[in-house]
């Protein structure tokens, strides 16, 4: 923040741009209107918004739902890259760190896709080159003919150690969930170390990371409760939040929903999350709980961005809300294509 105090102009400039972009995102009412529309009408609406350029560019190659899917991914990646270009000083570093989670997602999509024998074009459609691995690198990885070669091609990258360690196990079990957990654990420990390294503004970034970890751990706990098969809770725990490893394991052992929530509330400090936990006491549908937790996270981030108007928070709020806009549009179009009832689709929307 010293840089911010010396010359706050670039910080104010970027944060205002993020606020204007956030205001341009599709509002709640528009989603409700879209729920009653046909797929072609939704496509037309999307075409009239910020996604016009991508839909026009890709219109000759793709059509229908594929066109929307690719256009949304391209727009999201373009938007994230643009933000990295305009953010100044330490905000750029934090933004890049935050966006590194897309590297994990992209690598896992490629590995899972290749293992399941998906077509390259299909895998490419859902990649979002928003992290440190750009479109060229991802294309090169896609062109590799085996998971081992994909991992070898990443030699020198920060994810390489975990990938090479976890790949044999993943291939043997046919599941990449352990690898995914390990990659996220590494990611969070790295960004926590970065935020705690004394970089100005790191404290505010740390506030976001810790809350993100808390939400992730709580989501995992609810997911484990909804699962019918036994899983090793310890493996899924992410360090850095308010819950300790022992708390996490102990909470997972509690069978009664009300007792579980009461015990969880003892550990949680954030008021909005506590209010939600009270509401969740009688809710047993896993999917809905995750959406509600995401909503709470976004609300809390919004609050932080208002408390610290010229910090990393307004940027992070926009990045998250943009991500969920794309998720919502994808859910809407996919739902409409599969002829799902409107009530069912609306359950998947984060609005």
């Amino acid at each position: 923040m010293v840089a911010m105090m010396r010359n706050p102009a670039p910080y104010i400039y970027v944060c205002t741009r993020m606020r204007v972009r956030k205001a341009k995102l599709i509002p709640h009412e528009e989603y409700m209107r879209m729920l009653n529309m046909s797929l072609s009408e939704i496509t037309r609406i999307i075409q009239e918004t910020e996604y016009k350029q991508e839909i026009d560019e890709l219109g000759t190659i793709f059509s229908g739902i594929d066109l929307i899917e690719v256009a949304l991914s391209w727009n999201l990646a373009k938007e994230y890259q643009k933000i990295q270009e305009i953010t100044p000083g330490t905000l750029k570093q934090f933004t890049q760190s935050y966006l590194r989670r897309w590297d994990i997602q992209n690598i896992l999509i490629i590995l899972r896709g290749r293992m399941q024998g998906e077509k390259l074009g299909k895998i490419k459609e859902i990649l979002v080159p928003a992290g440190s691995l750009d479109r060229v690198i991802l294309d090169r990885l896609l062109a590799e003919d085996s998971p081992e070669r994909i991992v070898e091609a990443l030699k020198g990258h920060r994810m390489y150690t975990v990938l090479s360690r976890e790949l044999p196990g993943a291939k043997e079990s046919g599941s990449f969930s352990r690898m995914e957990n390990e990659l996220y654990k590494q990611f969070f420990s790295e960004i926590i170390a970065e935020a705690e390294s004394g970089i100005k503004g790191g404290k505010l970034f740390l506030e976001f990371i810790r809350f993100d970890i808390d939400i992730k751990n709580v989501k995992t706990l609810f997911r484990l409760r909804a699962d019918t098969f036994e899983e090793d809770a310890q493996e899924m725990y992410i360090t850095g939040g308010v819950l300790s490893s022992a708390d996490f394991v102990n909470l997972n052992l509690i069978k009664d929903q009300i007792e579980f929530i009461d015990q969880l509330k003892v550990k949680i400090r954030q008021k909005p999350l506590l209010t939600l936990l009270d509401e969740l006491k009688n809710d047993k549908t896993g999917r809905d709980i995750e959406i509600k937790l995401t909503r709470v996270q976004l609300e809390q981030m919004e609050r932080l961005s208002k408390r610290h108007p010229f910090s990393i928070h307004p940027i992070l709020v926009y990045l998250e809300k943009k991500k969920y806009e794309v998720f919502n549009l994808r859910a809407l179009t996919r739902g409409k294509e599969s002829k799902l009832p409107e009530e069912k689709i609306s359950e998947y929307l984060v609005v």
């Binding site: 706050p8 102009a9 670039p10 104010i12 400039y13 970027v14 205002t16 741009r17 204007v20 341009k24």
Partner: protein
């Protein structure tokens, strides 16, 4: 006799010095009023201007409005100027 004359001269001189000092102090006060308000206006315009440029970059239609908002802190300097003029005259 000589002592009385010299005392009167000294008193006259100190009165003159006080008057000159008062004028000087007024000038310094006026300068402070102008400089601090000018600095405050500049700082405020810098912040509003940065936000205005950022907002205009995203939405060109609001240029007229943000231009107006950017010059609003100029009123702070006008207040400073009024105070400075009242001090001097």
């Amino acid at each position: 006799m000589v002592d009385v004359v010299s005392n009167v001269t000294a008193v006259e001189m100190s009165v003159e010095a006080i008057k000159a000092s008062q004028i000087g102090m007024k000038a310094i006060a006026a300068a402070i009023a102008i400089s601090t308000t000018a600095f405050a206006a500049a700082w405020a315009e810098m912040a509003i201007g940065s936000a205005a440029v950022g907002a205009t970059a995203e939405n060109k239609d609001i240029f007229g409005l943000v231009l107006l908002l950017t010059v609003i802190p100029e009123t702070i300097v006008i207040f400073g100027l009024v105070v400075a003029l009242l001090l001097i005259f």
